[in-house]
Symmetry: C2
């Protein structure tokens, strides 16, 4: 079959969002979620949309009951944990009874909450499709993380910071906006930055709900231009329209705010979070937002980082800053999410002191504040101490802050991971990070909710990867990353293979099972392949500084960003040991610190993150450090050819449109992988003078 560009994105919605009608069933639906709240209304609308009369007339018949249950019943079903309310139970009777048309057992979907019912309904739809029949099942599920959030880095000018799939689906440059479905905005000129493509927003909200995402922040954390004024009319009324769409799919809606908004909007002379004028300004602002968006989630704030304003310039702490917002929001049940991505972005590369080690920054800025944040404040901490590199150790704040609500932050958009040109399904890396043990046998994914003052306010957040591209994500296969992120938030230990196979089956329903699995295998291998050719052994930031795609071995070496590799004629890597280096290792508890202090016990993939080592250093597998780097880069580049072969084998099973788009990108990836291999090998050969043991060509 051929699918044209025109139909392809609808197809993705229908397949990847798992919303296709079961062909051989007629359903009589019985919903006791009869509330008039937005989610109940949406649920009924979804039922009507997806369970209307079948195309095939000789279909069987079934009754489906969707019902909310009491906490007691939920306990009986073993829906447990801080997010038990959002779990569900599905009971599907044996197929044979239906076939006979005489079953009296209905399909039952139940949950303590309407939101959970929505998730259960999508889960059941997914189970019913594509097998086109109902297998008997009795299944319960509840999410591991209470907060399962997406951050849009969409900007009011229509661009998306670190977006690789076209313009924003939320905002657009004046002239590129649609506005076909929005009510009037007072100013139809440049101030009206909203794209107004309601269909697309509904599709996105549905997708989010279908994979269990329950919170979204609508704008970039670097809040510029008109986005600063989103908290005010007339922008606020348009934000409210968007919020109502997402809320109806069970997502709490957040806005990023600019710490300097009181000055920028109202000319206040101070932004001191302890100043009562400033506090009152935010109180009033928050009140006004809740008038328009009664279930508003709250604010996301990036302060005192990369040039953004913040509490430091008033001699206040980040807790002071966060608590100002928390107080204003608490009166309405809202939450402030405060980003821990705070560091000195004017580092002097000459400064080799501990203070200049960027990896220490989040810890230095925040560990003292543990316990000082309000109950409705959440600290959002990137998984690693630097910035979403291909390999990083766990951010030590996750060990240090046990009296603070924490969100662990990921990046679905492929900023350092190949820009959705190179295939890179990062679920293996996310799972590796989430399963770091913070205590004996207790991974960070669990400790988040164990100690927090308010376990409901812990979870995961990630930067989204969608844009106006016909397939939403630039690379059609990068849809899997968004899908996988939702699955991962719900089940922190879900096997990569299971997610990739689910996604592949749902997205390529006309592909045979073997080739669906081929595509799943491509996804499964992709993160490791990319890691092999892009920067060696955790040293990080050897990327091209023009956007972070492709190699730039020295691009950050003499920069102000604090990310260096220190390669010289003798060795490479950053010494972060306590004995000789920046002492970063000492920020971890004793056991971890001991492991990282010694290069022989440091995991290979963060070896150069912790140590500056000679090129002849013996790795655990007996290879020299330089040989291992050469090997990794040659292997990574070679394995891209495998990906191409695998994809070629799928040609006749995949619609031409998507097949060509992916093929084109795989060729770009191949060129990129070769460039990485060649630049990195030459770069290090020029320093080391050591040839490849296997005699492969390294340019001089």
């Amino acid at each position: 079959m051929e699918i044209t560009n025109d139909t392809a994105d609808e197809m993705w919605l229908r397949a990847s969002v798992m919303m296709r009608r079961a062909n051989h069933q007629t359903f009589e639906v019985n919903v006791d979620a009869t509330g008039e709240d937005a989610v109940s209304l949406r649920l009924r609308s979804e039922i009507v949309q997806w369970l209307r009369a079948p195309l095939v007339s000789d279909s069987a018949h079934a009754t489906v009951i969707l019902r909310t249950v009491t906490a007691q019943v939920a306990d009986g079903l073993k829906l447990e944990g801080p997010a038990a309310d959002e779990g569900w139970h599905i009971h599907v009777p044996a197929l044979s009874e239906h076939e006979k048309g005489k079953s009296s057992d209905p399909v039952i979907i139940e949950s303590p909450s309407t939101r959970g019912l929505l998730y259960g309904f999508y889960a059941w739809l997914e189970g019913a499709v594509p097998s086109a029949s109902m297998k008997p099942q009795d299944k319960i599920s509840s999410p591991d993380q209470p907060i399962r959030m997406l951050d849009q880095w969409d900007q009011s000018d229509g661009s998306v910071e670190r977006g690789y799939a076209g313009e924003s689906i939320f905002y657009g440059r004046w002239g590129s906006n649609v506005h076909s479905e929005f009510v009037n905005f007072p100013d139809r000129g440049a101030q009206d930055v909203f794209r107004g493509d309601t269909d697309r927003l509904i599709a996105y909200a549905r997708f989010c709900a279908s994979v269990g995402i329950n919170a979204i922040c609508l704008n970039n954390v670097n809040v510029r231009g008109y986005a600063i004024r989103f908290i005010q009319d007339p922008w606020l009324s348009r934000v409210a329209q968007i919020a109502h769409i997402f809320e109806s799919f069970g997502l709490s809606v957040f806005l990023s705010v600019n710490f300097a908004a009181p000055r920028i909007i109202s000319g206040l002379s101070t932004l001191d979070p302890c100043n009562s004028d400033v506090q009152q300004w935010w109180d009033k602002t928050v009140d006004r937002i809740y008038e328009r968006i009664p279930h508003f989630g709250g604010f996301v704030v990036k302060a005192d980082s990369e040039g953004e304003p913040g509490p430091y310039q008033y001699g206040r702490t980040h807790a002071d800053g966060a608590n100002m917002f928390a107080r204003a929001l608490a009166r309405h049940g809202g939450t402030v999410i405060w980003r821990a991505f705070v560091y000195n972005s004017h580092t002097d590369w000459r400064d080799r002191s501990a203070a200049a080690d960027r990896a220490r920054a989040a810890w230095e800025n925040f560990h003292d504040l543990d316990g000082k944040f309000a109950k409705n404040a959440v600290l959002q901490v990137k998984f690693g101490p630097v910035d979403f590199q291909t390999s990083e150790p766990l951010n030590p704040l996750f060990f240090a802050m046990k009296h603070t609500n924490l969100i662990m932050e990921f990046e679905v958009t492929a900023e350092y991971l190949g820009h959705q040109i190179d295939l890179n399904f990062p679920l293996p890396q996310w799972e590796q990070m989430a399963s770091w043990l913070v205590e004996k046998n207790v991974p960070v994914s669990k400790t988040l909710g164990l100690y927090a003052p308010n376990p409901q306010l812990t979870g995961f957040a990630a930067v989204s990867n969608v844009g106006m591209d016909w397939n939403w994500t630039g690379n059609p296969l990068a849809q899997a990353n968004l899908f996988g992120y939702g699955r991962f938030c719900w089940d922190n230990n879900i096997p990569t293979t299971s997610v990739s196979e689910q996604w592949s089956a749902l997205t390529f329903p006309r592909c045979d099972q073997d080739h669906q699995k081929t595509i799943a295998r491509m996804l499964d291998q992709s993160n490791e392949i990319y890691k092999h050719y892009a920067a060696p052994l955790g040293v990080g930031f050897m990327v091209n500084r023009d956007g972070h795609y492709g190699p730039g071995p020295d691009d950050y070496e003499f920069s102000r960003w604090g990310t260096y590799h220190f390669a010289d004629r003798d060795g490479i890597g950053v010494d972060r040991t306590q004995s000789n280096g920046t002492g970063y290792v000492g920020l971890y508890p004793e056991k971890q610190a001991k492991m990282f202090e010694n290069p022989n016990t440091t995991p290979d993939d963060v070896l150069l993150f912790f140590h500056h080592l000679p090129y002849a250093f013996r790795m655990k597998d007996g290879r020299s450090l330089i040989q291992r780097i050469y090997d990794d880069h040659f292997e990574g580049a070679a394995r891209v050819e495998d990906l191409i072969r695998q994809w070629n084998s799928c040609k006749k099973f995949v619609d031409e449109c998507r097949w060509k788009e992916v093929s084109h990108r795989l060729l770009l990836q191949q060129a990129n992988a070769c460039e990485w291999r060649d630049e990195m090998c030459t770069f290090l050969y020029r320093f080391s003078g050591i040839s490849d043991e296997h005699g492969r060509k390294i340019n001089r």
Copy 2:
């Protein structure tokens, strides 16, 4: 005295352009240039403007006669060479006669042309000021180069490519345009890209004339956006208005055109220069231009370079391309100027073959075409084979193309020379390049006119450095570069010191002579100082690729631009020898080739341009290569402190506004010089492992 921002640019016009009234003279003027041509009209207007009744009543009295003379008389005056027509003779009688008020000898200014009369008038004004008295003199002068051109890299969106002094004085973004003095443009919207600040354009044209510039190209050689349509109405009518201003000051006006204009504007399916449809398109276009601008100079064309379209894609040569324009222009006496800056901008850094050596590119593309260009075609060749670096050898095309009209191209704007932040008066470098001997005792500045098919169509061109900044050039002292360029075009051997002193005296008239000389000394030293700290020994292109300011030792190393240093643990530099390298050396005549083939006879400042040498290589002065590089960088950075000390000593003699502006930039230069020193030393130390002999700190 204090000068505010408001008055400062007017001040610059008046001082630097040398147009101030002589305070103690009353003049009776007698002009026989009574023509109605634009230059005659302008000359009379200038006389009225600058010689009107004196402010001081007890003034002396003099008669000034301005007259054109016949060729015979000019011969008698020894006005010689291809540009003799533009020369002048000034006779000023002894002062005493005037003081007595009884002189019968008039001041005489004479020239074979009205243009020369204008130059002579300005030269006399300059001589009369600032001494405020007329010293007796009898002086003749004629320019060395017939073409003395400025290229504006101003773009129709108001930006200036490689501009460091604000927006374009010619064009502006819609909304930033002035249009106060232009006649109506049909579209007052985005298409009307003309700034319309006539006062400023007149001031600029006057400045150009006052230093002898006689040609200008109004738009960037990379012709984009509406600039493609400047050759058509309604844009053409606005261009004509600008042209008339510049023509009245004796400048021929050129436009850069896009080779693909017939396709872009009229949808022609081919751009083949030998196709008659294309030729006719250009014929008609040229006819239309000459209807509006009867003395139009012609076109400047960049083709087949850095992504610009050109004749190659139709299997034609650059001569074919140039001659198509030449033919169309010849019918009206116009000229096409064809840029030789043609190279493959998609070089593979892995390719070490001769063909990939960018230094060979201009020669490879053009040397075969010598003698094949039309008589009214000119080939514009950058002074060096790469791109306006701090040190380059002479472009070998100047040896090879003796049957082609050549322009030697310079850059007044400080693209690689410090962005008009760092002080850099490049006259010493220009003179060095212009005095390269092409034949025994004959420098390139002379051979240009010796062999050309049309010696009138040879000369110098340079990219201008002006913008909308209050002082025109960002750094007030960078005005000297534009002034110096004019002086240099006129007199290729004018001593640097004389130019800097002239400029300083004219620009800082209220400064005492000692401090005027201090400022001149700062200028004189500045080019060498910059060269010391920015990239070693001619290797070039170790600049930051984000705009070319500051160091980026590896920024171009793995790029597609063909500019590499090949530093490794053993040595640095590009081997361009015939014996071992790319053979570039062989493009020079035997004598030069022999010199460059041997590192011991290659001049130090292009040593690494020609040779890849070990760090321990012994330089002519006995130092090792690496020690010389360390020394240069330390010395360069240290000497910036000298500049600061010198400038500080001028504080009370210079208006506060300019003093602060320069001071601020000197501090930025100091930081930049230290950054260059530290990055370059560390970069090479990490490769070489060799410490500084003098024990100065090099970061590890």
